[in-house]
Subunit: 590 residues, 2 copies
């Protein structure tokens, strides 16, 4: 090795030792008689001292080097007079005796520090420099640790990591596939997997009853912020299980990760149905770090009017609304007109698309005011405030409209207000299971059902008859792991019966021929002894960013792509040669 | 869980317990009053007993099920009267009380046993059934264990597993890339990585001084037997190292794997130079489980004639040959004419292409006979036999021709004879390092140099001046790990200097523009403080098959492709829709 020690390991107990360190020059301070150099590697920073009096030549040599040059330094470990107790090596320094320059560096285009002056595009173009920043390094180290923790936990629980192929077959259901032209099979294409779904199910048919894999997946989607065309998944499947077995197994994994990485005992995870999540929080991935559960003021057009909290015939907006509901923001009665206006603007943004916001406040003196004062009597509003358990000083924010849509809008407002109130701490974790998802989702544009999870998800056995009469009401043994309002994982019990799978494809609009062409291998496999099975997949990039306390996944991926799917560092995608196209029998259309 | 125990865990200490097992029917024997059923899962086989007298209905029910049906059985563990000590569960059986049929099975197209009657194509088409065979399962379990051992060893040694991108940039140097058309960037393509080479080097520039990854790689090559278009690599890189540091690190890994998986202490690995390997064994991946090193009878046209063992001017074939050499096969003096003819035919096959074979035998009585008796005196042949250390009963097989080519041919014969003699035991492991590979390889067809390893390999520093005068003679700090005649891994110390990398590209025939377009990001990175670094990559499929004692990698891959790059199970590659082509702006040429 060109070094005997790293820049992160020397301390007072090494005083007097001769050592050689290698690393990058973080900074240099020329103090006239002395030059101090901070040498950085993956493990830390060590101060190197050059003395003009004792070794002027060496001192002069080093003063010629700039930031980010790579050097090796030999010298003796000495105690620092001016200790820096903020860093592990802050009590010692190296009295330099010899320096070897391994490589020079041009001046980096941004500062290599946690707080950098580099903008996004610049940092991505020079990602190899961005990756030197200690916070980005910490992210990748965290990701490595999580990967090791997961693999050892899964392996210890009897799961086998089995690699599935990347060059598979295009199945246009779901998101768009990336395809790969085959040179040896002219005019034919492979596809890159959106997930190993069918392969892991085949492994269950093969009897590998506990499978996992940390695996790259690919989706050619129009990229929204923080979506990557390639992403990593922890993919799992088990045989001879029911929903609760899967949940218990992966609850164990989640508990283990929080304990091992953060020392947090998150306890057992609450289960909440999809219906309950939508009704209470207006979201199928509710953030339950804080309350602010919905108060249902009007439950529905068809609901018994006596269940409504406010009388009808008074306020046409509420009368016409299918659903009216709100939540209470504690201690916010003092919100100014401006603050209320901002919240109203927030819900009116096109991304949310609500028409307005109603408020009711209970002031600190107990008096009740509301934006709908003129429509309801004080008694009616007091009843509302009481039913909503409003305390003095609270405000209730209310929205009205089409049921599910309005609940989702109110759910978004709930998160926004919680953000404003600082109720969403990055250091608090409240995982939960959302269960009993609907099997299907009606798409009004295409006038057809889509699978809510995917076409392999099994309806709840007791709902199977409803497939023929009322498919929209069929629930699935499908579940999501949600942490702090983010969907971290999702899975289901699968269909393992050929006839039911065929029926499912037919409900999704496949002809028998299409179903057989695309998924025949799986349905055929079901005829040779397929066990009951189910599984789950977790977004590993997202899990890493959650553990890292960050919102974006990008800095937990070593070499991410930008929102146009480009890697600006290597400049990819790019054109390929006419020879390559010819070999692949392809022409690019203009 | 639908089961309380697996089919591999019950023993005498469970007698009397009520259990539920799930699995596949391996076989059923109807003995009139009793029916015996072997139930199989991933963990083993357990015998289930149905008694016609005590439960005729249940017995009748089960008799209707066939091989590979999936059932759950509840019953009581009992001691077997007729014990089978060959299997772990052979001392007990389950007295069945209840059976649940989870799924039926059609009759499988081949027997689900280690020795199967299924041919290759059939097994691949029904790979999900093939994977049920215990030997294939053992292979995938071994692969899982090796993956865990490697990851824990590497992580324990301070290496970080960092994922690199799959959608990268096409760089036509080396093998052919698989490309991926980009929909969002019309007319442009990603490429799938042939290895993460440039990314791991960038990680070194970023200061992640110990990197590893178990990662899929892709090569669009015309497939020879036992090559896969996608394969898995253990990819590693280190900074601030010299060749010996890399070798020592991975020698540790190899020792650890053999000890942990096989309980074998393989000791320290010999180092042998490329030159020595070619001269002694005619191969850069020598099998050193046995001797049979080459005897150099004539060292070269230019060599000092006094070094030749046989005098010149006697046998024109040897006189005209650049090199003459042989090896001694111990105890084979009794080879018949037919056996010799078969060996001659072997070397004359087009794959080897030699023109003939000369032999010299020293019979058990010490007398010497040879196919070139008439050209040399008995004294001359005796001298040859003595110099070759031939004992009574040995034969020497000799070939003559162009130096390196003839040595390679003789090397192939050496392996063949060792196979015939049973000297290549699957249970003996002799790993070694082959070092000091040439940097470049001249291609007579293209009239240009190719990189022997890859364009990023550094010449030995002391050879750098030769790049201008005699590139063919430049050696590299490049090394291969060879086990039992198979190249398991290879790597090198890399170039970390922009000017040298540029020169290397120029020697390889790149214009400056091409080099900058394809690898500019790497050369640019070298200007921002690139440390000295080097690494290695291991073929993980190959490593698994080596540990599994098998020749083919295919049964160590869950879902392999055939020699045309097809997955015959899912029928991929396949055509894609005109809509998909249109979105990608592509036309398939006819």
């Amino acid at each position: 090795m060109l070094r005997t020690k790293t820049c992160g390991e020397l301390s007072l107990k090494n005083i007097g030792e001769s050592v050689t360190l290698c690393g990058w020059i973080q900074r240099m301070r020329d103090m006239g008689g002395m030059t101090f150099l901070d040498l950085r590697d993956r493990y830390g920073i060590t101060q190197i001292v050059f003395n003009m009096e004792t070794n002027a030549a060496l001192c002069g040599q080093v003063r010629g080097y700039g930031r980010e040059c790579v050097i090796g330094v030999s010298g003796t470990v000495a105690e620092r007079s001016n200790k820096n107790l903020k860093i592990a090596t802050g009590e010692i320094e190296i009295l330099a005796e010899k320096v070897h320059l391994y490589n020079r560096s041009k001046t980096p285009p941004f500062t290599i520090e946690t707080d950098t002056d580099g903008g996004d595009e610049l940092r991505m173009k020079y990602r190899y420099l961005d990756l030197r920043r200690p916070n980005v390094r910490a992210n990748l180290e965290l990701r490595h640790r999580l990967g090791m923790l997961i693999r050892n936990y899964m392996s210890g629980a009897g799961f086998l990591e089995i690699e599935t192929p990347f060059l598979i077959k295009s199945t246009p259901e779901g998101a768009r596939d990336f395809v790969v032209p085959s040179r040896m099979n002219m005019g034919e294409f492979y596809a890159l997997p959106q997930s190993p779904q069918t392969f892991k199910q085949l492994l269950m048919v093969s009897g590998y009853d506990k499978y996992f894999q940390i695996v790259r997946c690919f989706r050619d989607e129009d990229l929204r912020a923080d979506r990557q065309p390639e992403f990593t998944q922890l993919d799992c499947e088990m045989s001879f299980v029911e929903q609760d077995d899967v949940l218990a197994t992966f609850e164990g994994l989640v508990q283990h990760l929080f304990m091992a990485e953060k020392g947090i005992d998150i306890g057992s995870l609450p289960h909440i149905t999809y219906r309950e999540a939508m009704d209470k929080y207006g979201s199928d991935k509710p953030d339950i770090r804080f309350g602010m559960e919905f108060v249902h003021i009007k439950k529905g057009l068809a609901a018994d009017a006596s269940e409504n909290i406010l009388p009808s015939g008074k306020f046409t907006v509420f009368d016409n609304a299918e659903w009216v509901g709100g939540f209470v923001a504690r201690g916010c009665a003092e919100y100014t007109r401006k603050q209320i206006d901002e919240l109203t603007d927030f819900v009116k943004r096109p991304q949310i698309g609500a028409s307005g916001l109603v408020w009711v406040r209970r002031a600190n003196d107990g008096s009740i005011k509301s934006s709908i004062d003129k429509f309801y009597t004080p008694e009616e509003l007091k009843l509302l405030a009481d039913k909503a358990d409003m305390q003095n000083g609270d405000i209730m924010l209310i929205m009205a409209g089409i049921g599910e849509k309005t609940r989702e809008q109110l759910g978004t407002l709930r998160l926004h207000v919680a953000d404003l109130l600082g109720l969403r701490s990055a250091n608090e974790y409240k995982p939960l299971w959302v269960v009993d998802f609907p099997l299907l989702e009606w798409n009004d544009e295409d006038k057809r059902f889509y699978a809510k999870h995917h076409p392999f998800t099994s309806p709840k056995p007791e709902h199977i008859p409803l497939l023929d009469t009322d498919p929209a009401s069929v629930n699935a043994n499908a579940y999501d792991l949600v942490i702090n309002g983010v969907e971290i994982g999702g899975g289901s019990i699968r269909i393992h019966d050929r006839a039911l799978q065929k029926k499912m494809f037919s409900i999704l609009g496949f002809t028998d021929g299409e179903a057989q062409k695309q998924f025949g291998f799986l349905m055929d496999a079901f005829e040779y002894g397929a066990p009951p099975h189910g599984g789950i997949a977790f977004g590993f990039d997202r899990l890493s960013s959650l553990f890292g306390g960050a919102e974006s996944i990008r800095d937990f991926i070593a070499f991410p792509k930008n929102n146009s799917g480009r890697d600006v560092m290597i400049d990819s995608p790019s054109t390929i040669s006419e020879d390559q196209l010819k070999e692949l029998c392809l022409t690019v259309r203009n």
